[in-house]
């Protein structure tokens, strides 16, 4: 836990709630002064936020480095897409199904994987992504292979007389915002609970945690499944937003994106992940002003992250704001 988190914990929750609300309120009025393109960027940031939350739970709080987020992201995307395209089911069904299916699939994958040592575990999780892509490409009767699933309908809420379809960038923005807020709350509750403290104990010293009676194996598996479910939910949003899914959804690039968001923002903090997500998308989009240098600059950014900000940007911001505090 960072110093800020622990100090907040001792003083209680009263500060977080009003601040969180202020943040959400700000986000709600954002469409009034931001155009479609920045809104699109925020939408992408919030879609990525879900799998990033999952990875944060796994890596930041439980200490397991995983590259599998892209695999679960893809599974969630395809689940949602298949339901929407073949059955025309309403959005909330596709969304929940994506999360449940992904979480369920994570169980038989996680059980053998979690037995492995750290490096082998990382490679195994990468393997999930690669196998996932191969399945998406070759199980043509289900996924239509490389042709992909296109024309995924816009999110439809079947509420009897109050049914509506979310359309347009602004509409989608609010949908994703609402979901992101709920997801963040869920993560917050998990982390604040006794289970959350146990996760941290496992991260700090697994053997010690085991010795005081924490069932580390069960925790790791459950967190793996929850992390996968978050990624699946993100995938569902992705499918409905882009309206097309293809085997390209299963690529390591997404896994590394999540990793950068979590590590860049500050692993083990919730605000860090939110910041990381916005920072990452803001950066990749801002770099479009120099298209040839974009990926090179991004590579240098990664190096900078590793060598100068090993704990992510969050502590830097903390230092900056405490510096500002002293000035007052």
């Amino acid at each position: 836990m960072t110093q800020a988190e622990s100090s907040a914990a001792t003083t209680g929750r009263d500060l977080r709630a009003p601040f969180g609300l202020a943040l959400v309120a700000l986000a709600c009025i954002a469409p009034l002064f931001l155009g479609n393109y920045p809104l699109h960027a925020i939408i992408i940031a919030l879609i990525f936020l879900l799998p990033a939350h999952g990875l944060n739970l796994l890596l930041g709080y439980t200490g397991l480095l995983s590259l599998a987020q892209a695999a679960f992201f893809g599974i969630g995307a395809y689940t949602s897409a298949l339901l929407a395209v073949h059955f025309g089911t309403p959005f909330y069904l596709n969304f929940l199904a994506a999360g449940l299916v992904t979480g369920a699939i994570a169980a038989p994958l996680g059980i053998p994987a979690l037995r492995l040592r750290s490096t082998s575990f990382v490679m195994c999780t990468l393997g999930f992504v690669i196998i996932g892509q191969a399945i998406a490409k070759n199980w043509i009767s289900l996924t239509r292979g490389d042709m992909g699933l296109a024309a995924i309908p816009k999110p439809y809420f079947a509420l009897g007389p109050a049914s509506f379809t979310v359309s347009g960038t602004v509409g989608f923005y609010y949908l994703v915002l609402a979901i992101a807020v709920l997801a963040t709350l869920a993560v917050y509750l998990i982390v604040r609970s006794p289970a959350g403290r146990n996760m941290i104990a496992i991260r700090e010293n697994e053997t010690l945690a085991e010795s005081v009676g924490i069932p580390t194996w069960h925790y790791k598996l459950v967190v793996f499944m929850i992390s996968a479910a978050f990624a699946g939910l993100g995938g569902s949003l992705y499918a409905h937003y882009l309206t097309v899914v293809s085997p390209l959804t299963f690529q390591m690039y997404y896994s590394t994106t999540m990793l950068i968001i979590v590590l860049g923002g500050g692993a083990g903090t919730i605000s860090g992940v939110i910041f990381g997500s916005l920072l990452f998308v803001g950066l990749t989009e801002a770099l479009r002003i120099a298209p040839e240098l974009r990926m090179i600059a991004y590579g240098f950014f990664l190096l900078g992250l590793v060598f100068w900000f090993p704990n992510g940007f969050a502590p830097l911001i903390g230092r900056l704001s405490s510096f500002l505090e002293k000035r007052k």
């Binding site: 480095l65 490679m123 393997g127 690669i130 070759n138 040839e292 090179i296 590793v306």
Partner: protein, 290 residues
């Protein structure tokens, strides 16, 4: 029928040799730096580009181009090693992943920036087919197999008898004690890295004549092929990696023939996953490093 299988095994040995030269470099780097080098395939690409450039713009003969390709890769490895890889020693795994990913992006896209994104033709090399025991192979492939063996034997000798080789073993076994006996860990790490990268570059130059197409993004696939090999071979275990590379080459060949070429690239990771389920420590012990 029998002949077909043998033929596919021979094909497998050829591709296995290519993988082996690249993989032993990556596994040595892991043994000493404890970092998975996600940029390893890029050194393969750099070697190829170096040789291509020498042939294309200076009209140099292929053997000279080989040397130039490897030297170019080594030079870049010195820079990367000094500024990036040395600092990863002792850092957590995430640091290594992100740093090498960053290096990969930089190398790949700098090459695209400098040479243009289009694919180039590699002219040069010994591509005339020759028949041995009823199998037809381009001469270049026989060269690859021979070089693969030389590399393997050379590494074994170096690691067993030379000072730097023994230092490498020491660092991969116990970093803390190295300081005690006076081994400069960062120095060893740097040289291991340069050697590993140069080997990748060598593999690139040797396969370029038969692979024909040269482009900035070609390294990524190599990285993905090599990762499962080094895990299966036992991280840091040169002998194990060599064998694992051969096994993968042969398995890929057989799958391509009897199941379908589209499944070929999955063989690596699929085999890895199966192996890990059954033997979580890899096919060969990671304890028996080097």
């Amino acid at each position: 029928m029998f002949y077909t299988i043998i033929e596919q095994v021979v094909n497998g040995i050829v591709s296995g040799s290519v993988y082996a030269i690249v993989a032993v470099g990556m596994t040595m780097i892991f043994g000493v730096l404890r970092a998975i080098n996600f940029a390893h395939g890029e050194y393969y690409m750099l070697g190829t580009f170096g040789a291509w450039f020498a042939i294309e713009h200076f009209d140099l003969p292929y053997p000279v181009a080989i040397v130039i390709g490897v030297v170019a890769t080594a030079v870049i490895a010195v820079v990367v090693g000094n500024f990036v890889m040395q600092r990863i020693v002792g850092a957590p795994a995430e640091a290594g992943v992100l740093a090498t990913l960053g290096v990969a992006l930089i190398l790949q896209n700098t090459v695209i920036l400098v040479f243009g994104g289009s694919y180039k033709f590699f002219s040069g090399g010994y591509i005339e087919p020759v028949t041995l025991f009823g199998f037809t192979l381009a001469e270049q492939r026989i060269l690859i197999i021979i070089v693969g063996l030389i590399v393997f034997v050379g590494l074994e000798l170096m690691v067993t008898y030379s000072r730097i080789g023994k230092a490498m073993r020491a660092v991969s076994q116990n970093i803390e004690c190295c300081a005690v006996v006076g081994i400069d860990v960062r120095h060893v790490a740097l040289w291991t890295f340069i050697l590993g990268a140069a080997l990748a570059g060598l593999s690139g130059v040797l396969t370029a004549p038969v692979n024909v197409s040269v482009y900035g993004g070609m390294g990524e696939l190599i990285t993905f092929k090599t990762l499962p090999i080094i895990i299966m071979g036992g991280l840091g275990n040169v002998r194990g990696t060599f064998v694992a590379a051969m096994i993968l080459g042969i398995a890929e060949s057989l799958v391509a023939t009897y199941v379908g070429l589209q499944f070929r690239d999955t063989v690596g990771f699929a085999t890895l996953m199966l192996v890990l389920m059954w033997r979580p420590h890899g096919l060969f012990s990671a304890q028996a490093r080097f």
